[in-house]
């Protein structure tokens, strides 16, 4: 994994003796403490500088083909209450992480949130707050949350299709699983960690990957035998996809050279789902290079599909319209195709669910819609 090295200072004797793992993964967290301590010694108000994770501060990275954080930074300073609290929490978190490393434990993000109950004024008010701080720490230390022994609850995608995977489970046993033969109707559930040390690809008989927003549509395709007939891997995104899902898509795309198409509802929120798969999400722009699949393509439902297939639709709500307008100023959507797609949706004022294709019968999506669209895209 390409990884930026944190700025390091000469090692102290104590650090030299620390176990290698801790020194490597967690040294940047200790560097943060050193930074604050030196500011205090100088009589300076403690503060840290972080890249801003806002829509205005993401930039396209030619080489990787993904959107990454730009150069604009903000300051988290103890001059203000919010900043002071976040600084304090950062060190509660650093303490906790180092403790876990010592004890050989891991923790879910949700557990972390509850652990903070004991942090007095540092206690988080919501899980969002604790998740954000973990991301901040990833940025500040140029590490992934897995390095901090933190992981989300298992909420990754499920996979259906002819791919064989070798997973090292949490007991250390290695299982070889074919995602069609060895699983039930629910498919193979991705764990939260899908890195090589956890999951290996053994072999795959597939021509492309189709990532689908809703469970109902995954079931429809599986029931109609779409994956078998077309050598497709079905990936259920479950709404806005988790990091592990995006990481998995990236790996199959890069390592197995499979094209990825994204099939969602036709509404502004689904556009964002696609953007986070293909270009990277703003919140995780600091690690886009691991998560984004720049080659992924949007299959539909597009605004023009709603017209061309005369799909049952709903009127755009006020929030939908706001979301579309926000997308017009989002650099990830600043291509001619996306602009015209978004503008068309605004103009028609309509959105449609992917399952609205059932208007023409249960087989329509697999017999007509997908083959037509995939041919158009040159995948089939």
């Amino acid at each position: 994994m390409p990884r930026k090295r944190a700025p390091t200072s000469p090692k102290t004797k104590a650090e030299e003796e620390e176990p290698k793992v801790r020194a490597d993964a967690l040294r940047p967290t200790i560097d943060l403490a050193r930074l604050i301590h030196s500011q205090l010694l100088e009589g300076e108000i403690p503060r840290m500088r972080l890249p801003l994770r806002t829509k205005q501060n993401i930039a396209f990275q030619m080489r990787e083909g993904v959107w990454r954080l730009g150069k604009a930074t903000g300051t988290r300073s103890a001059r203000k209450l919010d900043g002071a609290l976040m600084l304090l929490r950062t060190f509660y978190l650093v303490d906790f992480i180092n403790e876990m490393a010592r004890d050989g434990k891991t923790s879910t993000l949700r557990e972390l949130y509850y652990i903070s109950e004991g942090w007095e004024e540092g206690k988080f008010h919501s899980e969002d707050e604790s998740n954000l701080l973990v991301e901040d720490l990833e940025v500040m230390c140029s590490r992934l949350r897995e390095d901090f022994r933190l992981h989300p609850e298992e909420n990754g995608a499920s996979i259906i299709g002819d791919i064989t995977i070798r997973e090292r489970n949490r007991k250390g046993a290695v299982k070889t699983i074919n995602c069609r033969e060895d699983v039930g109707d629910g498919g193979y559930a991705l764990p939260s960690n899908v890195e090589k040390e956890k999951i290996e690809f053994v072999k795959a008989r597939a021509k492309f990957v189709i990532a689908i927003e809703c469970g109902g549509m995954v079931d429809r395709l599986a029931e109609n035998g779409f994956d078998e007939a077309n050598d497709a891997l079905l990936v259920h995104l479950k709404g806005q996809p988790a990091r592990s899902t995006r990481r998995f898509l990236k790996r199959v795309n890069e390592e197995l050279k499979l094209p990825v198409v994204v099939f969602t509802d036709g509404d502004p929120w689904s556009f964002r789902i696609f953007a986070s798969v293909a270009y990277g999400a703003i919140k995780t722009a600091h690690i886009s290079q691991y998560l984004a699949t720049p080659g992924a393509e949007f299959l539909g439902v597009t605004a023009s599909d709603i017209e061309n297939y005369d799909l049952p639709s709903d009127r755009l709500s006020e929030v939908d319209i706001k979301a579309l307008q926000a997308e017009l100023s989002d650099p990830r959507f600043a291509t001619a195709e996306w602009r015209s797609e978004i503008e068309l949706m605004l103009k028609n004022g309509k959105k449609a669910e992917q399952q609205s294709l059932a208007k023409y019968g249960l087989n329509y999506v697999t017999d007509h819609y997908l083959p037509e669209k995939l041919k158009e895209m040159g995948v089939l």
């Binding site: 806002t54 930074t73 903000g74 988290r76 203000k80 209450l81 304090l88 004024e121």
Partner: protein
């Protein structure tokens, strides 16, 4: 006893009188249902309650009795669309011979031409309710009334004869009633009970706020009993009856006054039947109108009346007096609001504003405003506007009312509330009470629901509301300063020490001295008063801390209400004292960076003094570096010691912080729409 007279015709009254022979009262009622407030079952109930309650309040106040009202609303029969309404007061009662006319005859009342502030004006109110009840349920009104002079109460059942506009008595008896005097009216009508805006409960709540001298009980159909206790047992001063003033008098009104006058000639009529016209002025008016002055008032032709009116307009007159007005007054507005909004626990009651009386169209009027903010008031809703005219809540037609447009034309953003585009009702946890008192309220229609736009009225409304809004702004900026202070103290007292300790321990280093960082974070001089009351005294300790990086020489001024001030003892002894202003001042010894000193005040036990009552002003440090006190107002004529002037002149130098983007503020606004895991 109320003096009753048959009201002379005007406006609707006029219509009715002229058409009385052609159309029946029932027809008239049908046509004017909306104006009279009986256009649907829900509104009809409210109107009925309102008419009876207004009468009870008017009668009690006129008789010098503290109003004590009980409103009972209960289900009647099985059909579900009928209610029984009983309203009872402990007012003076009504003499037997007037009862039938008061309740069973439209346009019979005592106030039509009395030029003073009262709720009832037209003599339609209660008989319209009787009529409505009769028309919808064919049930008679049952009146119980007792006057102090009689042993028993008169109980009459009557209906309004819609053909003749006369009462018809169905039964009559005398009963014992467990009170000296009072009146109860019971009606059965087609009606619907609801809560919420435009409901009897809302009406009574509003009434209780602006009539803190009244006790009002409401029993709802499900038996729930709601009591608005009195907040004062002082009756409002009875407003004096005043004569009509020529300013704004219209021709028709003048004609009526001339016809009804008992004076021998117009000169006398002018100086005695009108306000503001002296004997000399009456001569001038007559002269200007080309009249002799000795004409009998009733004899003037239409043309002569017009000339007379022109003459009245051309002569300088004594301005109308405000004696006919009965304002609520700042004290009682506050008490009324406190009393009724107690369960909402607002953070702030602005000092109410009571404007001096002004005149429009010949009638004096004045505007009063109360404002309440915070606590349980909903923050995401439009400001709650409570409109009142002569102490009567206005529940309908908010959008068409001059009060609403005055509120909406103010830019509330300047006073700290959200407001889209800077006009219209602002949003925020704010309740605004606006009371207009006048001997003649300029309603938009006979329905008495909204005030008509008028330049003079609008100016007064705007001034009064802005004055209240300024109090809100002061409050909000104080709250902001207080929040700022408590944030800073949280940082330096709790967060910073813990942060330093954790960071140091992670790298096995001793914790550095935090004093320089603390002064950088705070960078203010703080004044914090604490009040401790015990059985023997009330003690106030004012702690003054210099959290700036440089030493300070300070002059501290304290102001308290002079009566409280007179009770105070001080340590150290003040540099000077001004008892009239309630002001004391101290020149403090040089206060080093991070050093602190204190001033102590002592008051006798049970003195009513809170930290909020103490106003501090400080010289020797600029506003940006001062917490818990204000800088010395520019218009104070005080001589400051040389050291302070020098200190103040030495500009507040020091490196200017480079403006940096606050990471957490930028983050908070960025993540609202993203929802990825």
């Amino acid at each position: 006893m109320p003096r009753t007279l048959v009201a002379p015709a005007r406006s609707i009254a006029e219509q009715l009188a002229s058409k009385q022979r052609e159309i029946s009262v029932a027809e008239f009622f049908e046509r004017n249902r909306q104006i009279l407030g009986f256009d649907n079952p829900q509104r009809s109930l409210l109107t009925t309650v309102k008419e009876a309650v207004d009468n009870g309040l008017d009668a009690s106040e006129e008789a010098g009795i503290l109003p004590d009202l009980r409103v009972e609303i209960s289900k009647e029969g099985e059909s579900g669309d009928r209610l029984r309404v009983a309203v009872e007061d402990r007012g003076p009662g009504i003499v037997r011979r007037e009862i039938p006319n008061v309740f069973g005859r439209l346009l019979y009342g005592s106030r039509f031409h009395s030029n003073r502030q009262a709720r009832g004006q037209q003599g339609i109110g209660i008989s319209a309710a009787v009529l409505y009840a009769g028309l919808t349920t064919a049930r008679p009104a049952r009146i119980t009334s007792k006057i102090a002079e009689e042993e028993g109460a008169r109980v009459l059942e009557l209906i309004l004869d819609t053909q003749k506009n006369l009462p018809r008595i169905l039964s009559e008896e005398v009963q014992l009633w467990d009170r000296e005097h009072g009146t109860r009216i019971e009606l059965v009508l087609k009606a619907k009970y609801v809560r919420g805006r435009q409901s009897p409960l809302e009406y009574l709540r509003g009434t209780a706020i602006v009539n803190p001298h009244a006790r009002i009980v409401l029993v709802e159909p499900d038996g729930t009993k709601i009591t608005f206790e009195r907040a004062t047992s002082e009756l409002p001063p009875i407003s004096k009856e005043t004569l009509p003033h020529p300013y704004g008098l219209e021709l028709g009104e003048l004609g009526y006054l001339l016809k009804a006058s008992k004076r021998e000639n117009i000169r006398e009529m002018l100086s005695r039947d009108l306000a503001g016209v002296s004997v000399r002025a009456s001569r001038e008016v007559v002269g200007a109108a080309g009249l002799k002055g000795s004409e009998a008032p009733a004899s003037l032709s239409g043309e002569a009346q017009e000339k007379l009116l022109a003459g009245l307009r051309g002569v300088e007159l004594v301005a109308p007096s405000a004696e006919g007005l009965s304002p609520i007054g700042p004290l009682l507005i506050k008490r009324g609001l406190r009393n009724v909004l107690g369960d909402v626990r607002p953070d702030f009651f602005a000092p109410p504003v009571s404007r001096p009386p002004k005149v429009r169209g010949g009638f004096p009027f004045l505007v009063e405003v109360g404002l309440v903010y915070g606590g349980g008031l909903p923050a995401d809703q439009p400001l709650q506007l409570l409109r009142f005219a002569n102490r009567v809540p206005l529940l309908f037609q908010q959008g068409a009312c001059a009060i609403t447009s005055a509120v909406g034309s103010i830019d509330w953003r300047r006073y700290g509330l959200d407001q889209k585009g800077g006009n219209g009702l602002p949003t925020g946890p704010c309740l605004l009470l606006v009371h207009v008192a006048s001997t003649k309220i300029p309603f938009t229609s006979e329905a008495k629901e909204a005030l008509a736009e008028d330049e003079d009225l609008d100016r007064e409304l705007t001034l009064a509301i802005q004055a209240a809004a300024r109090h809100l702004k002061t409050h909000l900026s104080r709250v902001g300063r207080r929040q700022f202070a408590s944030d800073k103290f949280a940082i330096i007292q709790k967060i910073l020490p813990r942060l330093a300790e954790k960071a140091s321990r992670l790298i096995d280093q001793p914790v550095p001295d935090l004093a320089p960082v603390i002064t950088k974070i705070m960078d203010v001089v703080t004044l914090e008063p604490t009040v401790v009351a015990d059985a023997s005294s009330v003690r106030v300790t004012v702690e003054i801390t210099n959290y700036t990086a440089r030493p300070r020489v300070l002059e501290v001024f304290l102001e308290i209400d002079p009566t409280t001030f007179a009770l105070a003892e001080y340590a150290p002894t003040p540099e000077g004292i001004d008892r009239g202003l309630g002001r004391a001042w101290w020149t403090l010894d040089k206060l080093a960076s991070n050093a602190r000193t204190r001033i102590e005040l002592g008051f006798p036990a049970r003195t009513d003094v809170e930290a909020n009552d103490l106003d501090f002003y400080v010289a020797g440090v600029d506003e940006a570096h001062l917490l818990g006190a204000d800088p010395l107002p520019g218009d104070w004529d005080v001589r400051l010691p040389r050291a302070i002037i020098e200190a103040a002149e030495a500009a507040e130098s020091g490196p200017i912080e480079e403006e940096e983007v606050d990471y957490d503020a930028a983050e908070a606004s960025a993540h609202v729409s993203e929802d990825e895991s």
